[in-house]
Structure formats: structure tokens, C-alpha cells
């Protein structure tokens, strides 16, 4: 149950609702029940869900149903808008102090990913913003925490300031600032030890560090898999330290990440970055709108509809269909089609939006490699006009040339040719099948 997308469950509800022109109270009631469950399963805090559902009900009842949507879809649209509004806009700016260095303090529970994020943030500052950060090892408690930061520093070729495990974290932070000034670092990132929000002694230590170094940013690092307790953690850290932003880590996992919503709701502080992998360049700006979709569930039908409507040109789709019927589908068409699919967003997202896709055996663990798609594109683009129209022209020397031109290998070219032929065959079968039915055209030839 936990992993069925909201859409899967909603579909049965949507079917039941035979809406006329307006969303009725009964529609909303049935829909919001499902939405509520989905949000709770996604670990959004119970209270936050309650407030949200109340607002959604108020807004959705009596709404005119848009032409293209069913009342069910209309409610989901409202839900998504509310979620997105709650998540706020994108805010990945890092403060700049009037007088260097700018000081960033990293805080959070044990195991949230503070040290790794410290390394990633330093990397981002240097690479993207051309800054020279100094990393500061203030975690004197966890065994080898200092070594961990030092190793990261080595990997990034960035300096790490530490005074061993016998020094006081407050002193370490203070000395680090002096050193940063001496050596003209424009950023100082202070890695602190993980601590429980109810550990008053250690929370006091953070307050002392704060009062000594006067940070421009205090980030709370939160594991995106956190459950209902996220609210307590975020509230405590925010109350005691007045944090300036949140970094959500391990978002490359399969958690829905409802904690994001809870944290935003109780602190009203922006979620600035998302940790998307174990490598040091995998820190990304946080996208609230994408998060809203993700929390809602994997099979977000509505946004698939929206995306398809805006991106697939009806006329082009018709033409394509004609071609498929006539078997005159060429590599040019293929390229164009891929372009359309790509316009709809990252493929992983797209796959997850197809209801039921997460349940298909082969697809469940399929990690779609966007790189492969660019390889395919490169191969096709390295073909001559004639070759694209008529793949039967291919011979060994042409393949060699194409492989060279696209930076791939002959075997990759061969594979694509074979796949293309298979695809054409499949399309023929599919269009034959369709002829039997109402004769309605296929909307998504790529599915």
C-alpha cells in the first residue's frame, strides 16, 4: 500500500465521481480522504495535513470544472496548487556578508548528513560562485568526524581548520574566523556535531557558537526520510537558533519526503538545497514544485496531462500517426519525437507519472539513463539526410563514420538500427490494433 501512488488510488475514486459542471461537496469529501491518506503516507505531519485539507475543501467545493478535466482531476489541481503555495518559491541564494568572511553554520541531528553537505556546499561555492571557502571541523564528539571533513577537504583541495578533539567547539569556531580573515577566505562553513534537539547542553553549545561567530546563514540539515518527528526537530532548532534555511538530504532515495512540507509549515524558512547523491557535486537547488508532485505520489496523472497538452503539438502528433500507419517513420521523426518527450521533463519523472509504471516489473528498477538518450541523439545527428530517411543505405563504412561522428561505437550504432527496426514493427502492430477500435488516434506514440 505504501508504494502505490496517489493516482492509482485516486483513479477508482475519480471513476466513481460522475461530475457535471461543478465540484460537489461529496466529490471533495471522497477525494480529500484519499489525498489525506497519501499525504500521511508521505510522512507529512498530521497537523499540517489537517490544516491543508481544510483549506482544500474550502477552495474546491463549488469550483467550476475545467473543460478538459473531471471533477476529480479538478480537486487534484487545487491540491497541487495549495501544496506548491505552501512549499514556497525557489530560494537557493546564499547570503553574502557585507564584510568577508560570510559565515555559514551547519546544524542538525546525528546522521542527517551535515559533514557531507558541508563538503558539497564548499564545492558549490567554489565552482559556481568562485569563492574560497574555509571548512571548520567543530564536531569533536563523533569518532573520526574531523578526519571525515579533512578527507573531504583533501578531495576538494580545500583547506580544513581543526584543533583536534580536545578543543572547545566555540573556541574552534572563533579561531577559524580569525584564520579566515588572515588568509582572506570569503566564506567559512562550520560543521557542527549532530545533536538531539532535546539535548539542552549541546543546544546551548550551538547558541554559544552562534553568538561568537555571528553567522550569516544557519542551515538545518534534515534527512528527507524523517517521519512525523520532523516538526519537533525543526521547531526546536528554529526556536533556539533562528535558522535561515534548510538543506534536505538523501533526496535521491525513494522517500516521498513529506518532511519537507512539515518543516516549511512549522518554520516558514526556505528549503534551499537538496542532497541528490553521494558525490560532492550532487547538491542541487531545491525545487518546491517538483517536491509537491513527489509528495502527492508517484502517479501524478494531472501533471502528465498538463505537460502533454502543453508540449505535444496536436498537429505534429497527427502527422506522426499518419507516418506510423504508412510505415514511413524515419530517423528524423524519431529525433523529433524524442525531443518532444524530453521537453516534458526528466525521463525518470515522466515514468513515475505514468500510473502503474512503478508496479511494472521491468520498469520498477529501470534507471533511465538520460545519457543514453543523448547518445542516440548524437548517432542520429551524425547521419546524413539520406541515411535518416532510408536506414537500408547503411553499410560498414557509413556506420564507422557515424560512430566516429557521434563519439560512440559501431556496436552502439548497430544496436540503435536494430531497435529502430523493431520499433517500426511494433508501431505497425499497434496501429493495426487501433484500427479495430474507434479509430481514435494515439496520443502518446512513445508510450
Amino acid at each position: 500500500m505504501a508504494f502505490e501512488g496517489l493516482a492509482d488510488r485516486l483513479q477508482s475514486t475519480i471513476k466513481k465521481i460522475t461530475g457535471k459542471g461543478k465540484v460537489s461537496e461529496q466529490d471533495v469529501k471522497e477525494m480529500t480522504r484519499e489525498v489525506r491518506l497519501a499525504l500521511l503516507e508521505a510522512d507529512v505531519n498530521y497537523k499540517v495535513v489537517k490544516d491543508l485539507i481544510k483549506r482544500i475543501k474550502e477552495r474546491a467545493v463549488g469550483q467550476e470544472v475545467m473543460e478538459s478535466l473531471t471533477p476529480g482531476q479538478q480537486v487534484i489541481k487545487v491540491v497541487k496548487e495549495e501544496l506548491t503555495a505552501l512549499m514556497g518559491g525557489e530560494q537557493s541564494k546564499i547570503a553574502v556578508a557585507d564584510k568577508a568572511p560570510t559565515v555559514i553554520m551547519m546544524t542538525g541531528l546525528q546522521g542527517a548528513g551535515k559533514t557531507t553537505t558541508t563538503g558539497k556546499l564548499a564545492n558549490l561555492l567554489r565552482k559556481k560562485h568562485n569563492r574560497s571557502p574555509l571548512l571548520v571541523a567543530c564536531d569533536i564528539y563523533r569518532p573520526a568526524a574531523i578526519q571525515q571533513l579533512e578527507t573531504l577537504g583533501k578531495q576538494l583541495d580545500l583547506p580544513v581548520f581543526s584543533m583536534g578533539t580536545d578543543a572547545n567547539p566555540v573556541d574552534i569556531a572563533q579561531k577559524a574566523i580569525e584564520k579566515a580573515k588572515e588568509e582572506h577566505h570569503d566564506y567559512v562553513i562550520i560543521d557542527t556535531a549532530g545533536r538531539l534537539h532535546v539535548d539542552s547542553e549541546l543546544m546551548q553549545e550551538l547558541e554559544e557558537i552562534k553568538s561568537v561567530v555571528k553567522p550569516d546563514e544557519i542551515y538545518l540539515v534534515v534527512d528527507s526520510m524523517t517521519g512525523q518527528d520532523a516538526v519537533n526537530v525543526a521547531e526546536s532548532f528554529n526556536e533556539q537558533l533562528d535558522i535561515t534555511g534548510v538543506v534536505l538530504t538523501k533526496l535521491d532515495g525513494d522517500t516521498r519526503g513529506g518532511a519537507a512540507l512539515s518543516i516549511k509549515a512549522v518554520t516558514d524558512k526556505p528549503i534551499k538545497f537538496a542532497g541528490m547523491g553521494e558525490k560532492l557535486d550532487q547538491l542541487e537547488a531545491f525545487h518546491p514544485d517538483r517536491m509537491a508532485s513527489r509528495i502527492l505520489g508517484m502517479g501524478d496523472v494531472l501533471s502528465l496531462i498538463e505537460k502533454a497538452q502543453t508540449n505535444v503539438d496536436e498537429k505534429q502528433a497527427k502527422e506522426l500517426e499518419e507516418k506510423m500507419k504508412n510505415m514511413s517513420f524515419t530517423f528524423d521523426d524519431f529525433l523529433e519525437q524524442m525531443g518532444q518527450v524530453k521537453k516534458m521533463g526528466p525521463l525518470d519523472d515522466l515514468m513515475s507519472m505514468i500510473p502503474g509504471a512503478n508496479k511494472m516489473k521491468g520498469l520498477k528498477n529501470a534507471q533511465i539513463d538520460e545519457k543514453q538518450i543523448s547518445h542516440v541523439e548524437a548517432i542520429i545527428q551524425s547521419m546524413t539526410k539520406n541515411e535518416r530517411q532510408d536506414p537500408s543505405l547503411m553499410n560498414a563504412s557509413r556506420k564507422k563514420r557515424i560512430a566516429k561522428g557521434s563519439g560512440t561505437s559501431v556496436s552502439q550504432v548497430n544496436r540503435l538500427l536494430k531497435q529502430f527496426e523493431e520499433m517500426k514493427k511494433m508501431m505497425k502492430q499497434m496501429t493495426n490494433m487501433q484500427k479495430g477500435k474507434k479509430g481514435k488516434g494515439m496520443k502518446f506514440p512513445f508510450m
Binding site: 505531519n45 573520526a144 568526524a145 578526519q147 578531495q155 532535546v198 512525523q228 519537533n232 532515495g253 522517500t255
Partner: protein
């Protein structure tokens, strides 16, 4: 209150030692207990009658404890039936039914003998420790090694987390603290090779227990899960019947994703038990119920603090007692 008596009996067995354990449990679980049973008490005080509102509130209490929506729904349904069957109108009377049901969910049809580690006599026992990043694998291993050493076992640790910066050093320090040997290679080397080394060394040193650390990994990373399965295969090949335990380390603050973790790690490594860490915070650890309910995985240890002694063998009775202590003591 059958389980309470049993629990009390257990504690009378060895008073000196268990008193300490009980205090630790109570201290560690204090925040958990206060908020959880405090809220159930609140709830019962507020509602005289057992009606829809009562059940809705109860649902809230359980969901905010991370028990998980489907488990809560099942529980509420069962409670409703039970209340109807016994014709309970008074919310005070329903209290017993609630605690009974929760205990029942934890135990299911199982006996309670699943909590102890499956260690071999006169032969090397191997414990493989797995989990997502930051759950507390290395720390738990350090504490476990210390505990086993205290019991007179010869323990060897294998530093299988060759990926994360500083992980090997971290285990090394824990090994030093616990007074046990750590088998390691350089950062970046093949974890299966390190474990292989570990097994060989453990054998040649005549060790009783080898605990294998592994790098944290998110369960949806197929390649990394395959790597873990390979590590397990190496262990199986080298020592028939091993690993004797595969412990999944789970952060108590984790929400519903813990179920997915338990499922996927089980698929890759056939998990035999759970170490629930960071239970000394305000997280309720309710996910244990859901995991037990849906996957039948027992909790073997709980982490209740940062000190070396702060890993306790999981005692379901004590755990449940911890959750409900206030409620029970009132009677």
C-alpha cells in the same frame, strides 16, 4: 496485565544489572513515553464516550508516532469491532483494549524468543550490518562489539565501509574503545575483499564473533544493493551457515520509508533483525510496529544514547511497558 508481570519477573532475575537496564530504558524512552502515553491519557480524559471523534483522535496519536497509516487503519478497525463486540461505551475501558491490541500487533503469532542474537557456540559467528546512510551502523557496531566483549567473547570488526570519508577511522576508534581488533584496507577498496580478509583473520585469531560494517546506501540504488548481496555471498561461501545475523540499522526518526528500507534490504540480504537507533530523542519509534506487522522482522537492539553502554538488547515487554508506563501505573 499479563505482560507486565512477565516483565517484572524478568527483572527480578538479576536485580543489580537489570535495575540499571530498566532505568536506562525508562530514561531513554522518557520523552517517547511522555508524549505517547501522555497523549493517550489526554485523549481518554477528554472523551467520555467512545465515538467517531474518539477514534479519529486515537488515529492521530498513532499516526504521529509514525506507526504508519495502514497499520493504524487496521488497528482502528479491529478496535471498533472489539468495542462493538464487548459493548464498551466508556473510554476508560477501551484503554486496556488499546494496549492489548498494540502488544498483539507487535508479537503477532510469534514467540518472543526472536530478540536474542543467534550466536554459535564454539565456532565463528558472523554478523553483517546494513542500512541507509547516517542510520548509525558504525556506532551501533562499536557499542555491540563492546557489549559482546564484556560477555567474554573475542570480537573482530571488518571495516567494510570503504566508501565514506572517515568511515574506516571511525570504526577504528570504536575498535580501540571496545578493545577489539579491526580488519581494514584502504578507502576505495572492494568491500567484499575487506570482508573476505575479515573472515580469514577472524578464523586465524579464533574469534567468536566477526561484525562486518558496510557503507550506508539508499535502498533504491540497484548497483549498491547488488554490491551488498555480493558481500553476503562471500560470507556464505566462506563460512557455511553464515551470516548468522543480518542486522538492519534503522533511525527511529525515519518515517514510512523505513518499511521500504526493511523490504528492500531484506530482498538483498535476508535481514534477520533490526537495530533501532536514536530512540533517545522525541521520535516515537512507532515504525517498529508497522515493520513487525507487515514484515515480521523483530527488533533486536535499541540505541538509547551516545555512550558505549547505550545499546540495549531489545526487550519488547520493556519497550511496550515504556510506551505505556504512565497509563499502567495509574491503575
Amino acid at each position: 496485565m499479563g505482560f507486565m508481570d512477565k516483565w517484572k519477573m524478568k527483572f527480578q532475575k538479576n536485580e543489580e544489572e537489570t535495575k540499571e537496564v530498566s532505568t536506562k530504558y525508562k530514561d531513554g524512552m522518557k520523552k517517547t513515553r511522555q508524549s505517547f502515553s501522555g497523549r493517550i491519557n489526554d485523549l481518554i480524559a477528554r472523551y467520555r464516550k467512545v465515538d467517531e471523534d474518539f477514534f479519529e483522535e486515537l488515529e492521530e496519536v498513532l499516526i504521529t508516532a509514525d506507526v504508519g497509516v495502514s497499520t493504524v487503519m487496521d488497528l482502528i478497525d479491529e478496535l471498533k469491532m472489539e468495542v462493538k463486540r464487548q459493548n464498551i461505551k466508556d473510554s476508560k475501558a477501551v484503554k486496556d483494549v488499546i494496549s492489548e491490541k498494540l502488544v498483539e500487533i507487535y508479537y503477532g503469532e510469534d514467540d518472543e524468543q526472536t530478540e536474542h542474537l543467534n550466536l554459535q557456540e564454539e565456532q565463528l559467528s558472523i554478523i553483517l550490518v546494513v542500512g541507509v546512510n547516517g542510520a548509525g551502523k558504525t556506532t551501533s557496531i562499536g557499542k555491540l562489539a563492546y557489549q559482546l566483549k564484556q560477555q567474554g567473547k573475542k570480537v573482530v570488526l571488518a571495516a567494510g565501509d570503504t566508501f565514506r570519508a572517515g568511515a574506516i577511522e571511525q570504526l577504528d576508534i570504536w575498535g580501540e574503545r571496545a578493545g577489539v581488533d579491526v580488519i581494514k584496507q584502504n578507502e576505495g577498496s572492494d568491500p567484499a575483499a575487506v570482508i573476505f580478509d575479515g573472515i580469514k583473520s577472524a578464523k586465524s585469531r579464533n574469534a567468536d564473533v566477526l561484525i562486518c560494517d558496510t557503507a550506508g546506501r539508499l535502498q533504491n540504488k540497484v548497483n549498491l544493493m547488488n554490491e551488498l548481496a555480493k558481500v553476503k555471498r562471500v560470507i556464505e561461501r566462506e563460512v557455511p551457515g553464515a551470516p548468522h545475523e543480518v542486522l538492519l540499522v534503522l533511525d527511529a526518526t525515519t518515517g514510512q520509508n523505513a518499511l521500504s528500507q526493511a523490504k528492500t534490504f531484506s530482498e538483498a540480504t535476508d535481514v534477520s533483525g533490526i537495530v533501532l537507533t536514536k530512540l533517545d530523542g522525541t521520535a516515537k519509534g512507532g515504525i517498529v510496529l508497522a515493520i513487525r506487522h507487515e514484515l515480521q522482522l523483530p527488533v533486536k537492539y535499541v540505541g538509547l544514547g551516545e555512550k558505549m553502554e547505550d545499546l540495549q538488547e531489545f526487550d519488547a515487554h520493556a519497550f511496550v511497558y515504556g510506551l505505556f508506563a504512565d497509563m499502567l501505573e495509574e491503575d
